[in-house]
């Protein structure tokens, strides 16, 4: 046997049974990636970058709230007219949305299946563990992720679909500025938005550093910058998003 062939069956010294067996037959590229944890983490990192691009653009776009109702509504209308007349109206927006939905699905699916894999591989300690490096953000990724997902569903029902009673009572399609101010003038909703965006910031603090490791982007020339980037990105996105409910509550932005 040469080393180019997988060394199976294992020698008799190896008495521990594998937790799972990977199929040895060749499969299409993405299917093979999906079957392994390293490949799944790679897909998680790629979809994570897509979602980071979205949250950043979304937060920057919403800053137009501070320019007034006309600018904000003009911007929300513009999103439907990107690449017109190359493409008909709203087509490009829908392409972006489909990409986003796919990124969300693969990101969450990979997270769920990796979590299941880790649960299967892990034998918990009876005495208390003393963690040295694992920070709060890294250890709560699953929980902050769930908070973000629940917030996302609420946020869509509130401002995109106008589902009552989640949406404000006079929600009207197309009146983006009015809808968002009406919604965030409710104290409970504003608090929920602040909490969810703190969770988003914590998720990004680990995720936007971790993605470099998962993609194998590791170089002493920029390794320090990865931490600065992740911290800066998380703080910037969270600060922009948290400013909206606070400023609306403070009456700085009013419908």
């Amino acid at each position: 046997m040469t080393a180019t062939q997988p060394a199976r069956p294992l020698s008799p010294d190896i008495s521990v049974k594998p937790l799972r067996t990977l199929p040895s037959r060749r499969k299409p590229f993405f299917v093979e990636l999906w079957q392994t944890a390293v490949g799944k983490k790679w897909i998680m990192a790629i979809t994570g970058v897509m979602l980071m691009g979205f949250v950043f653009a979304h937060a920057v776009g919403n800053l137009k709230m501070y320019l007034g109702p006309a600018d904000f509504d003009h911007y929300s209308e513009f999103l439907r007219e990107i690449l017109v007349p190359i493409l008909p109206r709203t087509i490009f927006l829908w392409l972006l949305r489909i990409g986003l939905i796919a990124a969300f699905v693969f990101h969450i699916w990979a997270a769920a299946s990796l979590t299941a894999m880790n649960r299967k591989a892990n034998a918990p300690y009876v005495s208390r563990r003393d963690y040295v490096a694992a920070n709060f953000a890294a250890r709560t990724m699953r929980w902050t992720g769930i908070i973000i997902l629940l917030f996302l569903i609420w946020h869509l029902a509130d401002l995109t679909w106008g589902l009552k009673p989640i949406a404000p009572s006079d929600w009207t399609r197309g009146e983006a500025f009015n809808n968002v101010t009406e919604s965030l003038e409710r104290v409970g909703v504003a608090i929920f938005y602040v909490i969810a965006n703190i969770a988003l910031g914590i998720h990004l603090f680990h995720g936007s550093w971790s993605l470099f490791q998962s993609l194998g982007l590791n170089n002493p020339r920029f390794n320090k910058a990865r931490r600065y980037f992740a911290t800066g990105f998380a703080v910037l996105v969270a600060a922009m998003n948290i400013s909206f409910p606070i400023m609306i509550q403070a009456g700085v932005v009013a419908g």
């Binding site: 060394a7 521990v16 594998p18 067996t21 591989a121 034998a123 963690y131 694992a134 890294a138």
Partner: protein
């Protein structure tokens, strides 16, 4: 000094374990952690009780046989030190010390503090040997290796395979071990001909036994040889490269 120990006792792989309390009396500062356990065992044997089973061999930090969780940390509180080279001067008189075996589903407990780490051998076996007979052993230094490459490979080759990385990982992932073994060969000219097939085989064998990496960084803190998680990034990249290479062209088909 006197210590209060809480040690995991388990009769066999399938029997339930429990913590038992022991007092270690008259322990000297210059004893290693394992010598302290030896002293406790002598007392147990004299009293006609069953001694505590733990693994050890070289007792100079190079074989990777020893290793226990000490107060919730793999190989104890001192960074870059295996259990055998951890000295009792790191503890103070009257301290309570909890000792638990390394835990992972693929590290079944054989007895007390001794675990079966043979899945690590399975990973080595999946990619780490060549059985092709191609003449006598080559002369030393016949293949020039740049000093920097040799140094980087040596950093990875410092891995003693103790399994502390798996034990410290909240996911029981074997990434640090596997990446060190992969980088050790992939960084050298001799390792190039089988680089991509080896990476693929070793990663996929690892995943049959262990969890996935969530970049906590606990492993590099626990590693007695201070191997960096930079090697995990290197392995991730090589794995994706292995998947995208024209393996037929370069003669490395799985």
């Amino acid at each position: 000094m006197d210590l209060h120990l809480k040690i995991w006792r388990q009769n066999g792989p399938d029997s339930p374990g429990r913590f038992e309390d022991y007092d270690a009396v008259g322990i000297k500062d210059d004893m290693s952690f394992l010598e302290m356990l030896d002293a406790v065992n002598e007392g147990l044997i004299e009293a006609g009780r069953e001694p505590i089973v733990f693994d050890s061999d070289c007792r100079e930090g190079i074989c990777g046989t020893c290793g226990v969780m000490i107060n919730g940390q793999a190989h104890g509180p001192q960074k870059g030190t295996a259990t055998c080279q951890l000295h009792m001067r790191k503890f103070h008189d009257g301290e309570h010390i909890t000792i638990e075996p390394f835990r992972a589903k693929s590290f079944p407990i054989l007895r007390d503090l001794m675990v079966d780490r043979s899945p690590l051998d399975a990973i080595i076996e999946a990619g780490g040997f060549i059985s092709a007979n191609t003449g006598s052993a080559p002369d030393a230094n016949i293949i020039p290796v740049p000093k920097t490459a040799a140094d980087a490979a040596m950093d990875a080759a410092a891995c003693i395979g103790c399994g502390a990385c798996v034990a410290a990982c909240p996911n029981s992932a074997g990434q640090l071990f596997t990446s060190a073994k992969i980088a050790h060969l992939n960084l050298l000219p001799q390792g190039q001909a089988e680089r991509w097939s080896r990476t693929e085989n070793m990663v996929e064998t690892m995943e049959e036994f262990f969890g996935s990496c969530t970049n906590y960084g606990e492993c590099q803190e626990a590693c007695p040889k201070e191997i960096s998680i930079d090697f995990i990034a290197y392995m991730n990249r090589d794995y994706i490269k292995a998947k995208t290479k024209n393996r037929k062209l370069i003669g490395q088909r799985k």
